[in-house]
């Protein structure tokens, strides 16, 4: 396959034709913040936190989706790049509850000196938590509108199309048709939207209940890898276990069978293992 030469932060790098700038950055181990990008989803380049400076371009370009071209000269840590990354993180954190994002995200906030409080008293996207089924909850006060759940529900994984982006501008939000509850929507409870959510806006009901009760403690959890017992596909499962109870099920993104995606049985059908719930 043809290779493309480019420079990133004055270092030469070879990238495969068709690769993105982000791929090339990773090859050089340049840590690039991303929020809406995930290796198993089509890039939507909406969060703009991965922007880099490309020589000859009037505006910054998103590393996650811009393809490499011969002779590109890219800066990933120029004042303009740092400024935009900082502002994106600040603006998000000033409108969304980002307390459950990964330690990586918290690290980027520190690295770029994000101070969300400097905007003063401003509008947020806070709204009541949606609990309308036994399997998962939706807390859109934590939603950064990265479109990942919509993609996972749509053509990138599940092809169910139960949710979409509704409204526009600051009021844009993830919604079912006419905002009906999940039981009245096309949702099949595969939970793949939870699997890709980077902020904890979508969460297992079991995790939500334990967090509310103050019993959620990741330091006491173990992860056991196994294969789903239901059908013959052989999806790899990671069982997150706390106090001898399964509290959450995931699958690794790089697993060749699942690409991180599961179905309702693999994701939620573990009650028979532990016989929780009402005693007979």
């Amino acid at each position: 396959m043809a290779e493309v030469h480019l420079t990133i932060d004055a270092r030469d790098v070879l990238a495969r034709e068709g690769a993105t700038i982000l791929d090339a950055c990773r090859r050089l181990q340049v840590d690039t913040p991303t929020l809406c990008q995930l290796d198993n989803l089509t890039p939507v380049n909406v969060c703009r936190v991965c922007v880099v400076e490309l020589e000859g371009s009037r505006v910054l370009v998103p590393a996650c989706s811009r393809r490499v071209e011969e002779g590109m000269k890219i800066q990933t840590d120029s004042p303009r790049v740092r400024h935009s990354r900082r502002l994106v993180l600040e603006m998000l954190a000033s409108s969304v509850d980002m307390s459950l994002t990964s330690p990586e995200v918290q690290g980027w906030m520190r690295r770029y000196g994000a101070e969300p409080s400097r905007f003063g008293k401003v509008a947020t996207v806070a709204k009541p938590v949606k609990i309308d089924n036994e399997l998962y909850v939706r807390d859109y006060s934590r939603c950064i509108l990265c479109y990942k759940c919509v993609e996972a529900c749509g053509v990138d994984a599940q092809n169910t199309f139960a949710i979409g982006v509704a409204g526009r501008g600051f009021d844009a939000h993830i919604s079912t048709e006419f905002d009906v509850g999940l039981p009245d929507s096309a949702c099949v409870y595969c939970g793949n939207c939870i699997g890709v959510c980077p902020t904890g806006a979508l969460m297992f009901k079991s995790e939500y209940d334990m967090r509310s009760a103050g019993t959620w403690d990741e330091s006491r959890q173990t992860v056991t890898e196994t294969v789903c017992p239901y059908c013959g596909v052989g999806c790899m499962l990671e069982l997150h276990v706390q106090d001898n109870s399964i509290v959450k099920v995931t699958s690794p993104l790089d697993n060749t069978v699942t690409s991180g995606h599961l179905c309702v049985k693999g994701r939620f059908g573990f009650e028979f293992v532990q016989r929780r719930g009402p005693k007979s």
Partner: protein, 526 residues
């Protein structure tokens, strides 16, 4: 709905063809939503679900589309809805909104302010614009037929020299037409000023078929109404320009995307297309598509998404529309005024004039055609100057995405280079004049509100940035202590991130007017 789509496909047919026919109609979502709303005034869940079944669209996605466009209602309402413009120019003229009226951004009737649009839903849908009567538009080239030609008669258009350019173009052949457009140095008139000849050449060179021609008539920049005047009064000129463009670049299908707020323009263009087809002047199918109240759909890639029946969210570039545009095919998007300019180029009469929409505090607001490089002062004088006894406070050049000029900059030559030298842009040709009585704080706040309302919400810098910009501006202008330095700094930080990191031109320019207003005008206390 069935009137538009035809009778539903029989089930056995649907199965036999794998639902392919249904799926190819997905792009008809907006026309279908309009059909529903025109009849009953809103889009109910039942109607939307039927539409989804007919077009094979997931309901959640279709709901996303309905809730994106300001003109679609998803709650019941009366059979008459009044939209009253409360944008910059109408605000100067005094907004008088009756009870129950919706306040909306610029209706493109700034020369006749204050303006309103009344919709009557029912078996016969009606949309009526109300505003003062217009002034006659003097102009030697692009405007020469305005008020002279009968807009709905192809005979009248022919009597006034119509279709001479098309005849000549057919003799010249595609390569020579494109060369002529390139040599004339025509720059796009929609706001971005991209060289038209280069765009045409790129589309003509694309091996992928079909090529699409899209006329962008979604003129929604506040203070801009030149395309409306052309569409309403000389629609055949646009049709002729499109025929030439399609011939030169090998386009097999055309669209005219007209904003929903221009019912008369839409009707006249549709009638002109029909007549031109019947008389053999137009050999490709050209469809008139109706916007649904979204400024962002004037951005070319958002416009493509809208024609495809999706939310008007801009796409990331590259790839550019000339390679991957409407339905993923090479597409030529051109503004109305740009296409009308082509007639004179082909006829060898190109004079590089430009249409300006002068509004606000002048005696004769209207569209004026002047040579490139004409001083702003002459243009304002042409429009009758300011009312007696008033002095000029500022001019907003280029609409909400433009910038403010002060009276000492009034001699700037109106050319791309001339205004660039003072850090401004001609944009879409909007020239809003403010005299000493104008409350510039209100003007700035209206601009901030406009961008907050019109941001599509896709990317963070624009979605949150336009909101923060409005909030901070509000608190600065309300504050009386005079120490707004921290807030000025914040606004400039937000502006830079919006300019650098937004996906499209809306976000990239959403801070321009406010930044220039804060430095050029005396709006801060203390």
């Amino acid at each position: 709905m069935d009137g538009l789509l035809g009778a539903p496909e029989p089930a056995h047919h649907h199965v036999a063809h794998g639902g392919r026919i249904t799926r190819t109609q997905r792009h008809l979502l907006l026309p279908v939503l309009h059909a529903i709303q025109d009849r009953v005034g809103w889009v109910s869940r039942g109607a939307l679900e039927y539409a989804c079944r007919r077009l094979s669209i997931p309901p959640a996605e279709a709901y996303g589309v309905v809730s994106f466009y300001a003109r679609f209602a998803h709650k019941p309402r009366g059979e008459v809805v009044v939209h009253v413009c409360d944008d910059i120019v109408c605000q100067l003229a005094g907004v008088d909104a009756p009870e129950g009226a919706r306040r909306v951004p610029c209706l493109g009737l700034c020369d006749r302010a204050p303006a309103a649009l009344t919709e009557r839903f029912g078996p016969v849908y009606e949309a009526v614009q109300t505003a003062h009567p217009p002034f006659r538009y003097p102009g030697s080239k692009l405007l020469r037929r305005i008020g002279v030609v009968e807009p709905e008669s192809i005979e009248s258009y022919r009597e006034h020299g119509g279709f001479a350019a098309l005849k000549r173009a057919l003799e010249m052949g595609p390569a020579a037409i494109i060369r002529a457009v390139t040599d004339a140095g025509l720059l796009g008139r929609g706001g971005a000023a991209f060289p038209t000849g280069r765009k045409w050449q790129s589309v003509a060179d694309q091996p992928v078929r079909p090529h699409y021609l899209v006329c962008n008539a979604d003129e929604s920049e506040p203070g801009t109404f030149k395309d409306r005047v052309l569409l309403e009064n000389d629609p055949f000129a646009l049709v002729e320009g499109m025929a030439i463009a399609a011939f030169a670049t090998g386009c097999e299908k055309g669209y005219v995307y007209v904003r929903d707020e221009y019912p008369l323009a839409r009707q006249r263009v549709a009638s002109a297309i029909k007549q031109a087809r019947e008389h053999g002047y137009l050999d490709i199918d050209v469809e008139v598509r109706r916007g649904a109240g979204a400024y962002i759909c004037g951005e070319e890639t958002a416009l493509f998404n809208s024609i495809e029946g999706k939310r008007g969210e801009p796409r990331n570039k590259p790839p550019f529309p000339v390679q991957v545009g409407l339905f993923g095919k090479p597409t030529l998007p051109n503004n109305v005024e740009t296409l009308v300019n082509v007639l004179d180029i082909v006829n060898g009469e190109f004079g590089d004039t430009r249409l300006f929409c002068v509004s606000g505090h002048v005696l004769r607001p209207g569209v004026y055609e002047v040579a490139m490089g004409t001083p702003l002062r002459s243009l304002v004088e042409l429009a009758g100057g300011l009312p007696p006894g008033r002095t000029m406070q500022a001019v907003l050049l280029g609409g909400a995405a433009g910038s403010f000029l002060t009276p000492d900059q009034i001699d700037v030559p109106l050319s791309f280079e001339g205004v660039r030298a003072i850090g401004a842009t001609l944009g879409s040709g909007a020239v809003m004049v403010f005299d000493d009585t104008a409350d510039m704080k209100q003007v700035l706040l209206r601009i901030a509100r406009f961008f907050r309302d019109e941001s599509c919400g896709q990317c963070v810098p624009c979605r949150v940035g336009t909101r923060r910009q409005e909030e901070i501006l509000e608190r600065m202008l309300a504050s009386s202590n005079g120490d707004g330095r921290a807030d000025v700094m914040l606004l400039s930080d937000i502006a830079q991130a919006m300019r650098d990191a937004s996906i499209c031109g809306l976000g990239q320019t959403a801070a321009n007017a406010i930044a220039s207003g804060l430095t050029q005008l005396k709006v801060l206390n203390g």
